[in-house]
Amino acid sequence: MKKVIKLTVNGMEKELLVDVHSTLLDVLREDLGLKGTKKGCNQGECGACTVLIDGNPVPSCSLLAVKADGKDVLTIEGVAEAGKLHAIQEVFNEKGAIQCGFCTPGMILVTKKLLDDNPNPDEQEIKEAIAGNICRCTGYAQIIEAIMALAGRKQVR
């Protein structure tokens, strides 16, 4: 069974014919070619597939595309503006918060949501915000440091 859905993806309106059993993740990657959203576990556990829907982080692997009909979707491709990296992306680069990069799109998006809601989160709030994003490379320290820098705080150890 197929269905026509409307999505706003990174500010652009799209009308798509999708299989009702496709996940939003597969539609983003395969139908729209937006490969920045990663498929890690495909089970809701790792956060690599995180996108913002109407501003809230959700695992796109665990959401049927038809259920996103009419929604506003932000993927990592929509975070930089006019060819210029977002401040979060800049700081992740600077602080070595990226190694293989697989977790990075999800990490950047949950960080965006965190800072949009609360520009000065403390370390605990940062840890809670990224609790659903698994990173197998950095050990999290640089990621937390990067977000602390954005939040205008020095990391206390």
Binding site: K3, D19, V20, H21, T50, P57, V58, L63, V110, G132
Partner: protein, 329 residues
């Protein structure tokens, strides 16, 4: 995922209608965070032909408090429950339980109805069809429970019968300590099922064509305090090895009421009635609490590999009681 049909229903009546028109071949989908896992792994002997999407039913995501207590619409998201100032302030175990589920991302989609309706995480039951064929078992309708002779480290230590899978729902544990119940709608009208009667060793009490519309929590005993604890292997993103929710009432230094609910140790949330009775009328000094914690796990019948859960349950009960009584000061 294999194909299915998918329809959005505008109301509870329509959802129930479809469930009854397609018995055995349709499924409700709310947040889908549990169901999509079940479908991707193709674990069910009968793959559903139709998914009935209830997520867009208007007006089913309310949180209401009045003289009858708290009512929670089935579509309330866990993220919302966990953040609600009312729930955090007065129904703390519910907020804490909701906050302990999965990841922040999952909680933005997961609903309370789906939390109670979710399927067990027993790894035999959940074994993916794609890897050498699905595993049959008692819960799926044929064969014995494989956990009994197999790897049962996360299975039940009490109350198993035929199937020894543990109840995965964290909200169920919290609701049990609050003596909550579940309101349903079905073809023959609605009913109210107390949380203690909702889970069975082989599934839950929902009849074919019946759906959860609301969770209900009666008014709290005056001056009561609550505490929630969940033991997991990995702190965020994990199901409970054991969870505990307690509610206590202390008057003039004497325990007037204690409710202790244990999660993930049985097919459903389990009240430790003997321990609760023992605490009543006593001063909650350390020796009394220790004795209560021992009573809470008395009669446990662990399987070959999960005896450790008995000890974890005992310690969690002790710590939860200590924290809850300390809250009275």
């Amino acid at each position: 995922m294999k194909p299915f049909r998918h329809i959005n229903v505008p109301g509870v009546a329509e959802a129930v209608d479809y469930l009854n028109k397609f018995p055995g071949s349709s499924r409700l989908i709310a947040g889908g965070t549990d169901l999509l896992g079940v479908l991707k792994d193709d674990i069910l002997p009968a793959y559903p032909e139709l998914l009935i999407n209830i997520k867009a039913i208007p007006g089913l995501d309310y949180l209401r408090e009045d003289e009858n207590g708290l009512s929670i619409g089935a579509l309330v998201k866990l993220a919302f429950l966990a953040r609600s100032p009312l729930v955090r302030e007065k129904y703390k175990v519910l907020a804490d339980a909701a906050r302990s589920v999965g990841t922040p991302q999952l909680r933005n989609m997961a609903t309370v109805g789906g939390n109670l309706g979710q399927e067990t995480r027993c790894w035999y039951y959940r074994y993916p069809h794609g890897i050498g064929g699905r595993i049959q078992c008692q819960r799926k309708g044929s064969g014995p429970c494989l956990a009994v002779g197999g790897d049962n480290r996360y299975h039940v230590i009490m109350g198993g019968k035929g199937c020894f899978a543990a109840c995965p729902s964290d909200l169920a544990t919290a609701l049990a300590a609050l003596e909550g119940s579940i309101k349903t709608e079905g073809a023959g009208g609605g009913r109210i099922i107390s949380i203690g009667e909702f889970f069975h060793p082989l599934g839950n009490a929902l009849k074919a064509g019946e759906m959860i519309v609301e969770l209900q929590v009666p008014p709290l005993p005056a001056g009561s305090r609550q505490h929630w604890l969940k033991y997991t292997l990995r702190e965020p993103v994990d199901f409970a090895v054991v969870s505990v929710a307690v509610l206590t009432v202390l008057e003039a230094g004497i325990c007037r009421e204690a409710r202790i609910a244990l999660g993930a140790v049985a097919p459903g949330p389990l009240r430790a009635l003997q321990a609760e009775q023992f605490l009543k009328g006593k001063e909650p000094i350390p020796e009394v609490l220790q004795e209560a914690a021992v009573l809470a796990v008395q009669g446990a019948k662990p399987l070959s590999k999960n005896g450790y859960k008995v000890e974890i349950a005992r310690v969690l009960v002790l710590r939860a009681l200590e924290a809850s009584f300390a809250g009275h000061k």
